[in-house]
């Protein structure tokens, strides 16, 4: 299928080319109730699918989306990285509904490609400062008490390309290193209790079984509270690209800690200061110092519709929609501005609103072709208010790479096209 993510009145060319932006004068219908001159053939003509038999059962033994949705896929920004095996792609946030990210659309981030692990050959070892070092098979884990929870996983580098100003034109690229999934697995506390923590056990090191052997340090306090070792997502086994057969789920904390293809947990007394917590995933400030072990993801939000990949097509009543989330708790409120932050209205939160989960918000608005500067501002259950980008830069500088949770601005033009802009 060819790409058609602007199959309406705006062409792809119109959305992205500079010429299109400058010269477009697309007439948009004034409102949805315009009188048609002729009967609508979608109604007056018999369609093929109303006459002929469709595929029988088993033709689609594992169901896939309609061919008309083939444009809804993860996308890569190839220039960001040296090779696709050590790269990331992005969740198409503008094409989602509700709060659950379908498993096949969850962004990918691999450091040495996708490990294809036979679950019969997968082992989890717990060693270090424990009474009894243990080995578990996947069958072992499936005999233990389990729990399910919906929570978001956001890459620490999500929005990292935007520190110096508006760069990528689409919420998929600016905010798409996040997914929200129902994970099912064993509470890590049960496994640590089984091995028995020594009194000086303060930190864990989680290690992946892929070729990157990703390792990250995790305080025992968090490990004993709400961490899961998950074997399932959205009701089925983890996808290979999400760590099949076993990954860590660390609600509210940066995605890099959610080690995939998890094979070993070592218990220690201090953090490891591993490569991924010194050379990477540390936040360089303007004074040349770097923050380390910045685990919690701050409250953040983005308007997904309208956005550059989802332009406005109609004047009159429209529905603004977006996501908000916080690593510190639940989303309490989301405010939306249509005039670049001068005035704000409180948006409607769509149920369910869950702790450390993406939350969907909506705002109905009437649009008559005027220019809009669309922003959203999340407020979480601790009272944290998502900051303006300039406020955030004043504290964190522009070299942080990670943890950019500033307020996003979209410019909506008179023809409905949307562009990622920086406001001053």
């Amino acid at each position: 299928m060819r790409e058609n993510w602007s199959s309406g009145r705006l062409t792809r060319r119109g959305v992205f080319s500079a010429a299109g932006l400058a010269g477009a004068s697309v007439a948009l219908p004034l409102h949805a109730l315009a009188q048609s001159a002729k009967p609508d053939p979608a109604i007056s003509e018999v369609q093929d699918w109303q006459r002929q038999l469709g595929d029988g059962v088993d033709k689609r033994a594992y169901g896939t989306p309609s061919k008309f949705e083939a444009h809804v896929v993860r996308r890569n920004v190839a220039w960001l990285t040296a090779a696709p095996e050590s790269a990331a792609n992005f969740t198409p946030l503008h094409a989602l509904d509700g709060i659950i990210t379908p498993s096949g659309l969850c962004f990918e981030r691999h450091h040495s490609g996708i490990a294809e692990i036979d679950p019969a050959k997968h082992r989890l070892m717990i060693n270090g400062l424990v009474d009894k070092p243990l080995v578990f098979t996947m069958d072992d884990l499936r005999r233990m008490p389990r729990t399910s929870r919906i929570c978001f996983l956001e890459c620490a580098a999500n929005t990292g390309m935007e520190w110096r100003g508006a760069q990528l034109n689409g919420c998929q690229f600016t905010h798409g290193m996040i997914h929200n999934v129902m994970y099912t697995g064993v509470p890590l506390k049960l496994l640590l209790d089984e091995a028995g923590l020594k009194p000086n056990a303060k930190w864990l090191m989680l290690e992946g079984g892929d070729a990157s052997g990703m390792n990250r340090s995790l305080p025992t306090e968090k490990a004993l509270s709400d961490v899961l070792l998950a074997f399932a997502m959205n009701g089925e086994a983890l996808r290979p690209e999400q760590g099949y057969p076993l990954r860590a789920v660390i609600p509210g904390w940066e995605g890099n800690l959610w080690v995939k293809w998890l094979r070993r947990i070592e218990v220690g007394d201090k953090p490891w200061a591993a490569r991924e917590e010194t050379a990477r995933y540390t936040d360089l400030l303007a004074d040349g110092r770097a923050r380390q072990y910045t685990f919690v993801m701050d409250a953040k939000s983005v308007v997904t519709n309208p956005s550059p990949q989802a332009p406005l097509k109609y004047r009159g009543r429209n529905l603004l929609s977006g996501f908000a989330w916080s690593g510190r708790g639940a989303v309490k409120r989301v405010d939306v501005s249509l005039d670049g932050g001068r005035n704000w209205k409180t948006a409607r939160l769509e149920a369910p609103v869950l702790d450390k989960s993406m939350t969907r918000f909506h705002l109905d608005f009437d649009w008559n072709g005027e220019e809009l500067m669309v922003q959203s501002r999340a407020i979480d259950s601790t009272g944290y208010v998502q900051p303006d980008k300039q406020e955030l830069r004043r504290i964190r500088g522009v070299n942080s790479v990670y943890h950019n949770n500033g307020i996003q601005s979209w410019l909506v033009r008179g023809n409905g096209e949307v562009e990622n802009v920086e406001l001053g």
């Binding site: 299928m1 792809r12 992205f16 444009h71 920004v77 190839a78 220039w79 040296a82 040495s112 070892m125 060693n127 070092p133 243990l134 072992d140 233990m144 100003g165 508006a166 990528l168 049960l190 209790d193 089984e194 091995a195 070729a211 990157s212 052997g213 390792n215 070592e266 220690g268 201090k270 953090p271 490891w272 200061a273 490569r275 010194t278 050379a279 303007a286 040349g288 110092r289 770097a290 923050r291 380390q292 072990y293 685990f295 701050d298 550059p308 932050g341 001068r342 005035n343 704000w344 009272g383 944290y384 208010v385 998502q386 900051p387 504290i395 562009e419 802009v421 920086e422 406001l423 001053g424």
Partner: protein, 221 residues
């Protein structure tokens, strides 16, 4: 009830309370999983901690490391550690952390040598990981330190001296202090009306022209 009987009762009640507290503190075991054998732990527990705990016995010189590096690392990281294409630079950049475009390398940014040994041994060479011996890893790390002017040409790195090599940015990291330094983001009354002047557009993603267009998307059948 006599005094002694009541004392005994109190003692028994007390003991029961202790036993109950013990049961509450000690989690009941599921009896799932089996003990890890020492050979299995040795096979997998190859990580090195920040202070050097876990380093295997071994040694390697800058000169030995240069040969291995040129053969197995330079195609991605460049002959002088300058990086090739978008692969990371490993050397240079010292003093650049406050610059407009900082260069975060081993010499300019890493806080300790142990994580470098750990990462090189378990993750590199990329695409053929876990193929450097302990001695080869000491040699490559010695060469990388030499490229960054941290150790002299004739240096030998080993399990006894690695943790004592001081890195230029060893004190450049601090703990997460957001709840203090960014306290103002916890704001009880965020502004709702006339919060700022009319905004001006100061930058546009359209001007950067770096967004993948639809044609660059993956093919879907």
């Amino acid at each position: 009830m006599s005094n002694s009987a009541s004392r005994i009762t109190a003692l028994v009640v007390g003991l029961l309370a202790v036993a109950a507290a013990d049961a509450a503190e000690k989690p009941s075991k599921m009896g799932i999983g089996r003990p890890a054998l020492p050979e299995e732990i040795a096979a997998w527990d190859t990580d090195v901690q920040a202070d050097g705990r876990g380093l295997p016995p071994g040694r390697g010189t800058v000169k030995q490391g240069e040969e291995i590096y040129i053969a197995r690392c330079a195609s991605c990281h460049g002959e002088f550690g300058q990086g090739a294409g978008r692969w990371p630079a490993l050397a240079g950049g010292q003093g650049s952390l406050k610059a407009d475009r900082p260069s975060k390398t081993i010499g300019s940014f890493w806080s300790a040598v142990a994580p470098l040994y750990d990462y090189t041994r378990r993750t590199m060479p990329w695409g053929n990981a876990r193929t450097l011996s302990a001695d080869e890893t000491y040699a490559v790390v010695a060469f990388l330190l030499n490229l960054n002017d941290i150790v002299p040409d004739g240096f030998e790195l080993n399990d006894r001296n690695l943790a004592s090599v001081k890195m230029p940015n060893a004190t450049g990291f601090s703990a997460d202090d957001r709840e203090v330094s960014e306290k103002k983001f916890w704001n009880k009354n965020p502004c709702m009306k006339n919060c700022r002047d009319v905004p001006k557009i100061t930058g546009r993603a359209g001007d950067t022209n770096v967004t993948p267009d639809a044609k660059s998307g993956p093919k879907v059948d």
